[in-house]
């Protein structure tokens, strides 16, 4: 009776999860998605906890309380820290799967008998491999995003790196096969432990060569792995709710990763194993390229007289936390009847949808956030393209320069606007380490400085020099 009730509850929870993701298809229905998800999760937890075999409750209660204690502050991080928080939560997800797999293996090993069937053992090995590599890989990703001191920002590469990584993985898989064939052998537990260690190492080594700018794809892939680890857990525990919910997460991560890769015109293997930092050839010599730079006053005047402005945000805006100033500029321009749109490149920022969230936080109506493919055809009629902390996503070299590491990547055609203003902290190249031809174009005027300050000053001029701050 209880078993039937539990399964029924799991069915309802599954349906709720599918609805939740379905409702995410538009901002108007999206809030329901959270309620459905919470309901599904609550049902699943209660149904599981209520099962008769669960007798030790204290630690579960403590763990749940601790989860709230850590989870609530984590949800309050500033929006610019969302990529790191997301990576951190992938780490927790991988850890949970890895730990459960470990616990189950040793438990069943201890019980002898026929618990460790071939299929279960395969699922267990998959679970711990995926779980633990996602754990350390995501920790590394979070560290890179947070710019933690001892984790290098630039790709770390060394000779034969890919060979070493693949070798490590092959070793782990080989050991796994050995364990599957002899799950109860005396050496199997030790081999299992080695597999875990290899998975932990692999996670670190996999992420080290990946640069900050590739993080959107990496985070999406890790999202997928965390889901797959949950699927593996579902196979191990014969739990269809786990399999389904894990598959939903897995396919979500996969789709996002594919979108990111297409947006950078690179394949998975290239992102994971391409060691982007190595590919660039530093162009030395050649003529001294000349920037044209403009004063704030000049910039404000041009903006005032424009009839259409497109703002192209990038990671620099996030770093400078300039989105609220951008909103003020938006307001000032709209007051003057200027049409203002935002051109959002799929991989601008450090995770999928990063720019949208920052601009939404600044209360910019989401109807003014336009996808790259939709806005590019309009760019030649745009009076001013204002590039705020975006670099590679507006670099025309992606179109024309076959030798460039970003060649082939779709970009926002900022260079096709009538005038371009580019706000940049300094003259240093962006993460791709290459020069941006946009900055040297005849139509481009640089506004050097911190995005927040530059835009703040522009706003002051537009509001007649009597800024309300």
């Amino acid at each position: 009776m209880i078993a039937g009730l539990v399964q029924f509850t799991y069915l309802v929870a599954t349906a709720l999860f599918v609805f939740a993701l379905h409702w995410m298809n538009a901002p108007a229905t999206a809030r329901r998605a959270v309620y459905a998800g919470v309901a599904g999760m609550a049902l699943a937890i209660v149904a599981t906890w209520a099962q008769p075999e669960v007798v030790h409750h204290l630690w579960i209660v403590v763990a749940v309380v601790a989860g709230f204690a850590v989870g609530v502050p984590l949800s309050r991080v500033p929006l610019t820290a969302v990529p790191q928080r997301t990576a951190l939560s992938h780490a927790f997800g991988g850890l949970a799967a890895g730990l459960v797999g470990t616990a189950k293996y040793y438990l069943w090993f201890g019980e002898g008998s026929g618990q460790l069937t071939a299929f279960r053992t395969v699922a267990l090995i998959a679970e711990v491999l995926l779980g633990f590599l996602t754990f350390t890989g995501s920790l590394m990703a979070a560290g890179k995003l947070q710019e933690v001191k001892w984790i290098p920002q630039r790709p770390v590469t060394y000779p034969f790196q890919n060979v070493a990584n693949i070798g490590l993985l092959a070793l782990a898989v080989g050991l796994g096969i050995a364990v599957v064939l002899n799950p109860t052998a005396g050496w199997a537990p030790a081999a299992f432990a080695v597999i875990i260690a290899l998975a932990l190492a692999f996670g670190v080594l996999l992420i080290i060569p990946i640069g900050g700018a590739d993080m959107p794809t990496v985070i999406a892939i890790l999202n997928s792995y965390a889901g797959l680890a949950a699927v593996a857990m579902g196979f191990v525990l014969d739990n269809k709710l786990l399999i389904t919910a894990g598959a939903l997460d897995g396919s979500s991560g996969l789709i996002l990763a594919i979108i990111m890769c297409k947006a950078m015109n690179r394949s998975f293997t290239n992102v994971l194993f391409g060691a982007f930092g190595q590919v660039q050839q530093l162009k030395t010599g050649g003529e001294e390229k000349v920037y044209k730079s403009e004063t704030i006053e000049g910039g404000a005047q041009v903006l005032e007289q424009a009839s259409s402005v497109v703002i192209v945000p990038g990671y620099g805006m996030a770093v400078a936390q300039a989105q609220h100033k951008v909103r003020e500029l938006y307001d000032q321009l709209k007051k003057r009847g200027v049409s203002v749109k935002f051109a959002i490149h799929p991989v601008a920022g450090r995770m999928p949808g990063h720019m949208n969230v920052l601009l939404a936080e600044a209360d910019i109506p989401y109807t003014d956030l336009v996808e790259m493919d939709e806005i590019n055809p309009d760019m030649p009629q745009v009076d001013v393209a204002l590039v705020v902390g975006a670099n590679d996503v507006v670099n025309p070299a992606a179109r024309s320069d076959k030798g460039s590491p970003i060649y082939g990547m779709p970009i926002i055609d900022a260079d096709r606007a009538r005038t371009v203003f580019a706000i940049k902290r300094s003259k240093n190249p962006g993460f791709a380490g290459i020069d941006n031809e946009l900055y040297f174009s005849d139509r481009t005027w640089m506004l050097f400085g911190d995005a927040k300050n530059v835009i703040g000053d522009l706003v002051k001029h537009l509001s007649g020099g009597s800024g309300m701050h």
């Binding site: 901002p27 599981t48 630690w59 601790a66 997800g93 997460d249 789709i255 969230v357 939404a360």
Partner: protein
């Protein structure tokens, strides 16, 4: 003893195929549903799918709760903690982000969502 082993082997096998069916179908559903998610919402999508994948808490409870050796239950409890953290922070932050998506700027009369 052999019969018991055979039975233990047989039971997981029977379910194996239905598990695979479920995985296949769930993946297709996932692909279909996620493809339609607006690009505007990709960031909250990541955080909500994180929270959903923390369904691993179910497995963790089943490892921490029953009458298993202490070592097993410790691992389970840590897994419960890790999953609960994801559940709480994932849903909360998704909600927080979704609240911000508006069609009208704050100053005007916004549509009721």
């Amino acid at each position: 003893m052999i019969v018991l082993t055979a039975a233990a082997e047989a039971a997981p096998q029977a379910d194996l195929w239905s598990q695979i069916f479920v995985f296949l179908l769930a993946t297709f559903i996932g692909l279909g549903v996620i493809r339609r998610v607006s690009r505007l919402l990709h960031t909250p999508l990541m955080s909500i799918t994180n929270a959903i994948s923390a369904i691993a808490v179910v497995g963790a409870i089943l490892v921490a709760g029953p009458d298993y050796p202490v070592g097993t239950r410790v691992l389970g409890a840590i897994a419960v903690f890790a999953s609960m953290t994801n559940i709480v922070s994932g849903f909360l932050i998704t909600h927080r982000m979704l609240k911000m998506f508006k069609t009208e700027p704050r100053s005007g009369e916004g549509p009721r969502t």
